[in-house]
C-alpha cells in the first residue's frame, strides 16, 4: 500500500515537475550563466566572468542605449501608474456605487484586455497615421486641427502616445481588480464611518483605501513587471529600433535586437544580450519579491 501510494504520487507529480524543470527552471538558470561566457554567434566559448557586463557598461554605444532604454521603461511605468491605474481606481470607485448599467460598463471596459497587443498596436498605428489616420482627421473635424501632430513620429509625444495606447488596452484590468477589492470590504466598516459623521471622501480615504492595500500592491507590482517587460506594443507600432532617434527604445527591444540581430546588419551579440537579460531579471525579481513580501505583511496587519 505504501509503495503504491508513493508510485501514485510520483505519477501525479512527475509530468508537471519535469515539464517545469526543463522548460522554465533550467532555461532561467542558464540565462544567468550565459552572461558570464563569451559567445560567437550561438556557439558558447570561454568563461569570461563579468566581461559582458563591462562591455555593456563601457563600450559605446551600449551604455547610452542601456541608460536611454531603462529611463524609458521608468517613464512608461510612471505614466501608466499615473494615467491607467488612477483612471482604473476612479472607475472602480464609481462602479462600486452601483450606478445604472454598472454590469454592462464592466463588460465593456474589460473588452480590450482580451484583444491581442498586435491587433491593438496595428489598429492604433493606422488611426494615428498623420496623413490618412482618423485621429488627426477627427481633431480637424471638431475644430481642434491645431492639436494635430505626428503623434508617433515626434520625439516629444511618441513614448507618451504608446503609453496611452497601452493604457487604452489595459485600463479595464485595474478597474476590475480594484472593484473586486472594494466589493470585498464589509458594509459595516463603511456604515460605522458614516455614523461617525465621515464625509464620502473621508470614508473613501480612511476606510476603502487602507483596505485596498493588497490590490494596490498587486497592481503596482504587475504594472512594474509589465512596464519592464514591454516589447510587443513598441515592436508592432514603431519597429525594432525604437524610432524616432531611440525615443521609444525600451529594454525589451534593446535586448531582442542585441541578442537576435541588429536591424541593419543582423549582427548578434548573445553575450551582451544575456547581460541585459540578467539586469532586467534582477530588477524584476527584486521588485516582485518585494511586492509579494510587502503584501504578505499588509495582510497580516489587516487581519
Amino acid at each position: 500500500m505504501r509503495a503504491s501510494r508513493r508510485l501514485w504520487l510520483a505519477f501525479f507529480l512527475a509530468p508537471a515537475t519535469l515539464l517545469f524543470a526543463v522548460f522554465v527552471t533550467y532555461p532561467i538558470f542558464s540565462a544567468l550563466a550565459y552572461s558570464l561566457y563569451e559567445w560567437e554567434g550561438i556557439a558558447r566559448r570561454g568563461f569570461i566572468g563579468l566581461g559582458n557586463f563591462v562591455r555593456l557598461f563601457q563600450t559605446f554605444p551600449y551604455p547610452r542605449l542601456l541608460g536611454n532604454a531603462f529611463w524609458h521603461n521608468v517613464v512608461v511605468f510612471a505614466l501608466t501608474m499615473l494615467i491607467q491605474n488612477v483612471a482604473g481606481l476612479a472607475f472602480a470607485l464609481i462602479l462600486s456605487r452601483g450606478p445604472r448599467g454598472a454590469r454592462v460598463y464592466r463588460v465593456i471596459y474589460f473588452l480590450p484586455v482580451t484583444l491581442s497587443l498586435v491587433i491593438v498596436g496595428f489598429m492604433w498605428a493606422l488611426f494615428l497615421n498623420p496623413v490618412f489616420g482618423v485621429v488627426n482627421k477627427g481633431l480637424a473635424a471638431v475644430g481642434l486641427g491645431a492639436l494635430a501632430r505626428p503623434w508617433l513620429g515626434d520625439p516629444q509625444t511618441a513614448l507618451i502616445t504608446l503609453t496611452l495606447i497601452n493604457a487604452w488596452r489595459w485600463v479595464g484590468f485595474p478597474t476590475l481588480v480594484f472593484l473586486a477589492g472594494i466589493n470585498a470590504i464589509p458594509d459595516e466598516y463603511l456604515e460605522a464611518a458614516r455614523i461617525d459623521g465621515a464625509s464620502e471622501w473621508q470614508a473613501t480615504r480612511n476606510v476603502i483605501f487602507p483596505l485596498l492595500a493588497p490590490a494596490f500592491t498587486i497592481i503596482v507590482t504587475l504594472t512594474f513587471i509589465g512596464s519592464f517587460n514591454w516589447f510587443e506594443l513598441p515592436y508592432v507600432v514603431q519597429g525594432l529600433s525604437g524610432p524616432p532617434n531611440r525615443a521609444t527604445d525600451v529594454l525589451g527591444l534593446l535586448f531582442y535586437r542585441t541578442a537576435f540581430g541588429e536591424v541593419d546588419t543582423g549582427l548578434q551579440d548573445i553575450g551582451v544580450g544575456s547581460a541585459i537579460a540578467v539586469l532586467m531579471f534582477i530588477v524584476m525579481v527584486a521588485v516582485s519579491t518585494f511586492g509579494a513580501l510587502y503584501l504578505r505583511r499588509r495582510e497580516v496587519e489587516v487581519a
Partner: protein
C-alpha cells in the same frame, strides 16, 4: 459539448500538430526564397513560374518580410539552422555579416559560370570583405533620384529646376498653391538616409569626399559633410503634413494617389508606382547642384544579391535556381517586369523613366554609408538614421549629427579615433 468530445478534439488537434505530412516519394524539391521585397512578389512569382516550367522537379516559394525587420528575422532563422534555401541578400556589409558567420555558401565561377560575365564593379557588392570570395548573384543597381508628377507640375506651369535654389522655388510655388510638394517623411529612419543620399552629395562634393572619408583623411565631423546634410533642413517646410510621423507606406500612397508632387527615393520605386496607379504620369530628375552649370551627383549602389543557405539540404536545386538568376533572360525579365536596372550584363532597358535613371548614372557616387560604413556594428547607417531623425525633429544640429556618427563609427573605424 460533452467531456468526451472535448478530449477527442484535443487528441485530434494534437495529432494534427505532431504528424508530419504524409511522405510522398514523387514530391518535387521545395525551395523557399526569403526576401525583403514585398512589393515585387508578383514579379518574382512570374519569374519563378518560368523557372519551374523548365525545371519540373523544383518548386520555389517566394516569401517577403517587412524590410525593416528582414535582417533580424533572417539572422535568427539562419542561426537556428532553419532559414530559407535561397536568400535575398543585401550587398556590402549586409552580406558580410552572413558570409563571415558561414551562413551562406560561397559561389565561385565554377559553380556559377554565368558570373564570369558580370563586371568586377558589380561583383564588389557580392564579395565578402574578409575572404574575398563571391557569395551571391547581384540583382540590381539602384540610384537615388527625385520622382515628380508631370501632371501636377504642368498644371502649375512649373518647369524642372536647374539649381538648388530653383528647386526650393518650385517647392515653394507648389506649397503656395496648396499642393504637398514632397511626399517624404521621417518616421522610418532609412527614408531619411535616402533623402540625405539625394541632397548631400552635391554639397559635399560627391566621390572626392567619399574617397577622403573612406581612406581616413577626414571624418563626418568635417564641415564639408555637416553643411551638406544641413541642406536637408531647408526641405522641412515642404514635406508631408506631420512628416515626422509619415512612414514609408504613407509616402508611397501620397505620391501614387497624386496627393504630393514629388517623392525623393530610389529607382526601385518605378515598377511599384506604375503597378499601383496606371494613370500616374511621372518621371525622375537628379537633384540639381548648387549652381545651374554644375552637373549633379547621384548616389548609386549595388542593391543586393541572391545567395544560397550554406546548410540547405537541396544544394543542387538551389544552384540551378541561382544560375537561372544570372542569365540574361532572367535579367531582362527582371528589368521589364520591375523596371529596375538588372545587374546582369546585356540587358536592354525599355522603360523610359529607367532609361532616364541610367543616363544620370554618368555622374554617380557611392551611396556613402551603405557602401563605405556598414561593415561592422554600429553601422554608419544606424547612427546616421537615428541622428537625422533628431536633426529633422530639431533636437540635434547638423554638427552634432556629424559628431554622433563619427564617434559611433570610431568603435571600428580606426582613423576616426582622435
Amino acid at each position: 459539448m460533452s467531456r468526451r468530445v472535448v478530449a477527442l478534439l484535443t487528441v485530434v488537434l494534437l495529432v494534427m500538430a505532431v504528424l508530419p505530412p504524409a511522405a510522398r516519394s514523387q514530391e518535387p524539391v521545395k525551395l523557399t526564397f526569403w526576401s525583403w521585397r514585398t512589393e515585387d512578389k508578383w514579379a518574382y512569382d512570374r519569374m519563378i513560374r518560368l523557372f519551374q516550367s523548365r525545371n519540373p522537379g523544383i518548386r520555389v516559394e517566394f516569401i517577403p518580410f517587412r524590410p525593416t525587420e528582414y535582417n533580424t528575422i533572417l539572422s535568427s532563422g539562419l542561426t537556428a539552422g532553419k532559414g530559407p534555401d535561397i536568400i535575398h541578400l543585401r550587398a556590402y556589409g549586409g552580406l558580410e555579416t552572413f558570409s563571415a558567420a558561414g551562413h551562406i555558401a560561397p559561389l565561385d565561377f565554377d559553380r556559377v559560370p554565368e558570373l564570369r560575365r558580370f563586371s568586377l564593379q558589380t561583383l564588389t557588392g557580392a564579395r565578402g570583405r574578409k575572404d574575398g570570395k563571391l557569395y551571391g548573384v547581384p540583382f540590381a543597381t539602384q540610384t537615388l533620384v527625385v520622382f515628380y508628377n508631370k501632371k501636377i507640375l504642368a498644371q502649375h506651369n512649373l518647369s524642372l529646376p536647374k539649381s538648388w535654389n530653383e528647386f526650393l522655388g518650385v517647392l515653394k510655388s507648389l506649397k503656395d498653391r496648396g499642393v504637398t510638394p514632397l511626399a517624404n517623411g521621417a518616421k522610418e529612419g532609412w527614408t531619411l538616409e535616402v533623402l540625405s543620399g539625394v541632397v548631400a552629395p552635391n554639397f559635399y562634393g560627391g566621390s572626392t569626399f567619399f574617397e577622403a572619408v573612406t581612406r581616413g583623411q577626414t571624418t563626418f565631423r568635417d564641415p564639408t559633410y555637416t553643411n551638406a546634410i544641413a541642406k536637408m533642413l531647408d526641405l522641412r517646410p515642404y514635406m508631408a503634413t506631420g512628416f515626422m510621423g509619415v512612414d514609408y507606406a504613407t509616402m508611397q500612397q501620397l505620391f501614387i494617389n497624386e496627393q504630393a508632387a514629388m517623392f525623393i527615393g530610389g529607382s526601385w520605386e518605378i515598377g511599384f508606382f506604375r503597378q499601383q496607379n496606371k494613370n500616374l504620369d511621372f518621371d525622375v530628375f537628379a537633384l540639381p547642384a548648387e549652381r545651374a552649370d554644375q552637373a549633379p551627383w547621384v548616389s548609386s549602389f549595388a542593391d543586393g544579391n541572391y545567395g544560397i543557405n550554406a546548410k540547405t539540404p537541396h544544394m543542387d536545386a538551389a544552384l540551378k535556381f541561382i544560375r537561372f538568376t544570372a542569365t540574361t533572360e532572367f535579367g531582362q525579365m527582371f528589368t521589364d517586369l520591375l523596371s529596375q536596372t538588372s545587374a546582369v550584363p546585356g540587358v536592354v532597358i525599355k522603360d523610359p523613366v529607367l532609361k532616364n535613371v541610367q543616363s544620370m548614372n554618368r555622374k554617380a557616387t557611392p551611396y556613402i554609408m551603405l557602401v563605405g560604413f556598414r561593415w561592422q556594428a554600429p553601422t554608419g547607417s544606424t547612427l546616421l538614421q537615428s541622428a537625422l531623425q533628431a536633426m529633422m525633429a530639431g533636437t540635434m544640429t547638423p554638427a552634432q549629427v556629424g559628431e554622433e556618427v563619427t564617434r559611433g563609427l570610431s568603435a571600428w573605424v580606426e582613423s576616426f579615433r582622435r
